[in-house]
């Protein structure tokens, strides 16, 4: 028979053994604020993309306004500058956040347009911290027998209302990828953020043109 202090320690150890994994990977409560946010907005976004009554220009305009309302582009922009955010002149950083907004909306739009006609389903979420969620979804193409595409959305709620800060497709996070390429570009251009802004502006203009 175990002595009482030893028993208490054993119970505590058992409690910790269960508590630690829970603390490390706390599953979010069903249909939490982030899941609801993603679900509602995905349906809205796909409704715009699938709306055949809109002209291409109207669809683009509506989708852009829709994206800007839910994506925190400034936050993503500052993240993607990496270490150059601290060393670049503040005016350049501000100009970059504006250029990034145009680029991100054009890139996201070109990206999401590929998924028009597909159905999406929120399948769960994980809470990384009290204000940091990852919402898992599956995109299914009704016309193809392929496995569903796994798309995750990173939602932050520290500013009060939920905002989208990153999207992962098949495990690849777009903001991480953007940071990697911007930092590499800046490394090759003496950290000159203005060169990156010029490059981004050209890219945004190209992305905004119809694909064919």
């Amino acid at each position: 028979m175990l002595s009482t202090p030893l028993m208490r320690r054993a119970v505590l150890a058992l409690a910790m053994a269960f508590a630690v994994p829970l603390m490390a990977a706390q599953p979010a409560a069903a249909a939490n604020v982030a899941e609801t946010f993603v679900d509602q907005n995905l349906q809205k976004g796909l409704a715009i993309l699938n709306n055949k009554s809109l002209s291409t220009a109207q669809r683009r305009e509506q989708f852009q306004s829709f994206l800007l309302a839910l994506v925190d582009t400034r936050r993503i922009a500052l993240f993607t500058l990496g270490q150059y955010r601290r060393t670049a002149p503040p005016a350049d950083v501000e100009a970059f956040t504006v250029a990034f907004k145009d680029y991100a909306t054009a890139a996201y739009q070109s990206y999401f347009a590929r998924y028009s006609g597909q159905t999406v389903k929120v399948i769960g979420s994980q809470q990384r911290s009290p204000t940091d969620y990852i919402v898992a979804t599956q995109l299914v193409d009704p016309g193809k027998s392929q496995a569903p595409l796994e798309v995750d959305f990173r939602i932050r709620t520290d500013g009060g209302s939920p905002v989208l800060v990153d999207v992962s497709v098949a495990g690849i996070w777009l903001s991480l990828e953007q940071r990697d390429q911007f930092v590499s570009f800046l490394g090759q251009n003496n950290g000159n953020v203005r060169t990156l802004i010029a490059h981004l502006s050209d890219l945004s203009a190209n992305l905004s043109k119809p694909a064919n």
Binding site: A107, R114, I134, S145, V165, D166, S184, F185, G187, L207
Partner: protein, 244 residues
């Protein structure tokens, strides 16, 4: 043994080439890419191969082979890889996934007419990928510096070694046939065609959206491999991500 010889040759060629470049920059070291300049040149070389040899035939492949045929080729090549996937499943201790790979191989090789059809998926046994690079990672091997291999593209020492070992354990290498070189060349070529036709839109998208295509590809490769090693969402642990 051919695979090991190829690996030694590639490593020697890369080591000799690396000497021709200067010391790595601070940024390259920070990006865990000390051979960045050499890698960028190799990517340019691969792009030329792609432009002049691969893309024209991918176009022909799309024109001459209907979608059903391309799907059949994709299934057949995937079926040929199943013994290698099975070995890696087992080496990683993934017994259930190993059983799935073995089951898929038996079902698709027989009912699937040599692998051209995929009845196993319809029976509820979906496919998955595994390779020796992933096995090394599961065993604790670090990826090492980023590398772009001639012809093969993005890699690292761990994945390059894995690629060579996968090649070495491929059962088709042990089948005696008179024209083995043609079989190997044909399989390699169709694997390239299949891969390129499957990733056509993705690659176009990356090229179109990139500020720095090389860095973008590097990031995609590292993140994608990380996801493959974790077997998708199998861990159900929140991914380690930087704070915003």
């Amino acid at each position: 043994m051919r695979g090991l010889r190829a690996l030694i040759l590639v490593v020697c060629a890369l080591a000799v080439s690396a000497c021709a470049y200067g010391p790595p920059t601070r940024e390259a070291l920070a990006a865990r890419d000390p051979y960045e300049q050499m890698n960028r040149d190799t990517l340019k070389f691969n792009a030329k191969i792609d432009k002049y040899f691969v893309i024209p035939t991918v176009g022909l492949y799309f024109v001459l082979v209907p979608e059903t045929g391309r799907k059949g080729v994709h299934n057949f090549l995937g079926n040929l890889s199943l013994p290698i996937i099975f070995v890696n499943d087992m080496l990683q201790g993934e017994v259930t996934r190993g059983a799935q790979s073995a089951g898929r191989f038996v079902i698709n090789s027989s009912l699937g007419l040599g692998g051209f059809l995929d009845p196993a998926t319809k029976m509820g046994i979906p496919g998955h990928g595994e390779d020796m690079g992933q096995t090394f990672a599961v065993w604790g091997a670090k990826e090492g510096p980023y590398l772009v291999l001639p012809f093969f593209g993005p890699s690292n020492p761990r994945d390059a070694a894995g690629l060579a070992l996968d090649w070495t354990i491929d059962p088709t290498n042990f089948i005696h046939m008179k024209q083995h070189v043609w079989w190997a060349a044909g399989r390699g070529y169709f694997t390239l065609l299949d891969l390129r036709s499957q990733t056509w839109e993705t690659v176009q998208g990356i090229q179109r959206n990139s500020v720095d295509y090389y860095a973008s590809l590097r990031s995609f490769y590292r993140q994608y491999r990380g996801e493959q090693i974790r077997n998708g969402r199998a861990g159900e642990k929140p991914p380690e991500l930087p704070d915003f």
